[in-house]
């Protein structure tokens, strides 16, 4: 297999820490991939509502480039990009008329069907290696006991016929990754509810209304952090969290799933770009470190006695 990497626009800008963390983790897991040369925007959020053809053509150009550059698999860490790439490929497979006019629109021949990955299913496939690295590094793991709410949102899981996620209503793939990283996924209710996605800028109050339910539910079910795999979700739950939180409530860090894996396998907060998050991750990191140290000290004391 040859894996192509499609970063998408957010990972080069407002969510650059996602790229930092994704690249650091894939490097540590020895996942080989090559960034698609001269990739362009997938059109997420704005192309498909205006024109179906444009909504398919923009991602299809990138699939064509990936195939021309020798890839048979693509990973798009951004859930919106992933969804657009997968949707385009699905629609081209299902609509012969669309497939027939697409080469003329693209100026490229139609790419063969590629295996399109999101960051969650990619990491889930490497769960055993994550577990190995966690075990090799520290005992007990840094994230032991950390209660995490796995937040999928919409674009990873829906429509299920396109994404093929394990379950549209009660997915568990991200939980597999969280467990592999040594943390504990919590059972909660808002895992696949929408955060408001692309309305972050144009309709901020809607996003705050939707995000508040998500953060509140995660908190009510004992989560200490929310794991996300989408820059849009992250922006809404991170940058907008201040507006969702009542006075006196502790903020709830929204971490990329790669952040959790990275911390678990010993990458530094700096390598993962944690300082770029708006919700301060320092208190959580400090308490994790303190707890790990306390456990280690206790273990050492037991050993020497």
């Amino acid at each position: 297999m040859t894996l192509a990497y499609y970063p998408g626009c957010s990972l080069k800008g407002t969510s650059r820490e996602f790229e930092e963390s994704f690249l650091a983790v894939t490097r540590a897991l020895r996942i080989e991939m090559t960034e698609i040369d001269d990739w362009s925007c997938c059109g997420a959020s704005s192309a498909h509502p205006i024109s179906r053809d444009l909504g398919v053509a923009l991602p299809a150009r990138n699939l064509a480039l990936a195939a021309e550059q020798g890839a048979d698999e693509v990973v798009a860490p951004c859930a919106a990009c992933y969804n657009r790439l997968a949707t385009a490929q699905h629609e081209l497979g299902a609509d012969a008329d669309l497939a027939a006019r697409m080469p003329g629109i693209l100026g490229h021949s139609l790419p063969p069907a590629l295996h399109i990955h999101n960051v969650v299913d990619l990491l889930a496939a490497y769960a055993p290696r994550i577990e190995e690295l966690v075990a090799a590094r520290v005992d007990p793991p840094l994230l032991a006991g950390l209660r995490v709410a796995a937040y999928y949102g919409c674009l990873l899981v829906r429509p299920n016929e396109v994404t093929g996620f394990d379950d549209a209503e009660q997915p568990a793939t991200m939980e597999t990754v969280i467990s592999a990283a040594g943390a504990s996924p919590v059972a909660w209710n808002m895992a696949v509810e929408c955060c408001g996605g692309a309305f972050s800028i144009s309709r901020t109050q809607s996003v705050v209304r939707l995000g508040r339910r998500i953060v509140a539910d995660a908190r009510a079910h004992g989560a200490q952090a929310i794991a996300v795999a989408c820059p849009l979700c992250h922006t809404n739950l991170d940058l907008r969290q201040a507006a969702m939180t009542a006075r006196g409530e502790e903020p709830l860090p929204a971490l990329f799933i790669t952040d959790l894996v990275g911390l678990a396998i010993g990458l530094s907060p700096g390598e993962l770009g944690l300082a770029r998050h708006f919700v301060d991750t320092e208190p959580l990191l400090a308490s994790l470190a303190a707890e790990a140290e306390a456990t280690a000290t206790a273990a050492a004391a037991q050993e020497s006695s």
């Binding site: 626009c9 957010s10 080069k12 800008g13 407002t14 969510s15 650059r16 820490e17 001269d38 362009s40 925007c41 059109g43 959020s45 704005s46 192309a47 498909h48 509502p49 205006i50 024109s51 179906r52 053809d53 444009l54 909504g55 053509a57 923009l58 150009r61 003329g104 629109i105 693209l106 100026g107 949102g153 919409c154 829906r158 429509p159 299920n160 549209a168 209503e169 509810e193 929408c194 408001g196 996605g197 692309a198 309305f199 800028i201 144009s202 309709r203 901020t204 109050q205 809607s206 705050v208 209304r209 939707l210 940058l239 300082a275 770029r276 708006f278």
Partner: protein, 217 residues
């Protein structure tokens, strides 16, 4: 209709899109499960099941001017749970496309500004040049001061690149826009409603013009 070259094919495209959409909506049996699960329904003038009903009955004047089309997040909850397989999210996408081709101007201003600015930046640079996007969005939405407090934070965290990336295949991307018939003028001038339509949180908020024409009082 009009004599301007190309206009006929756009209106033909609208007719075709609406006919396809109408027959797709015929599967809907009005159970309301789409509206029940819709995260934006409390802000919509027409809930999703009403959009399906009016579409199935060919009442496009009401549908195409509804703010609800533009309040859809394409979260696909409706389509995932729809018992009849109607796929409201895809129908709403097609209705939006028809509304744009039809030159409708009832899109809530902030959302029109978002889509216009997004696509402009992609057409210009091949990628979403975020700094340019924010600047253009501010101008188009006339919400100059909204969110301005977050700008220093974004800059401090190194999240805003001052200059766009240079794409070799920019010509290809522009050609794609051209061939898909998406014009720079689409959505321009849309958003006749005052900035109050950005209130968002209030039920029934949004485009008052759409509300009047929505007609399910």
């Amino acid at each position: 209709m009009t004599n301007q070259s190309g206009a006929m094919s756009r209106s033909d495209a609208v007719v075709r899109l609406l006919a396809e959409t109408r027959s797709a909506a015929a599967r809907c049996y009005q159970c309301g499960k789409c509206s029940a699960g819709c995260p934006m329904v409390s802000e919509m003038t027409l809930p999703p099941h009403d959009i399906m009903r009016l579409t199935a009955h060919g009442r496009f004047a009401e549908v195409l001017s509804a703010d609800s089309l533009w309040l859809c997040l394409t979260c696909e909850t409706c389509s995932e749970r729809c018992p009849t397989g109607t796929d409201p999210a895809a129908i709403i996408d097609a209705l939006r496309e028809a509304a744009v081709l039809d030159g409708r101007r009832e899109v809530p201003r902030s959302i029109a500004a978002f889509h216009r600015s997004f696509l402009d930046q992609v057409r210009l640079t091949g990628r979403l040049y975020e700094a340019g996007f924010f600047a253009e969005y501010k101008l188009r939405s006339r919400a100059l001061l909204d969110d301005i407090g977050n700008a220093p934070g974004l800059v401090r965290r190194g999240k805003l690149h001052p200059l766009p990336h240079r794409l070799h295949g920019i010509g290809e991307v522009r050609a794609i826009f051209e061939r898909c018939g998406v014009r720079a003028s689409d959505l321009s001038g849309a958003g006749h409603a005052p900035a109050a339509d950005d209130a968002g949180g209030a039920p029934g908020g949004g485009d008052p013009g759409g509300g009047a024409e929505g007609g399910h009082a």
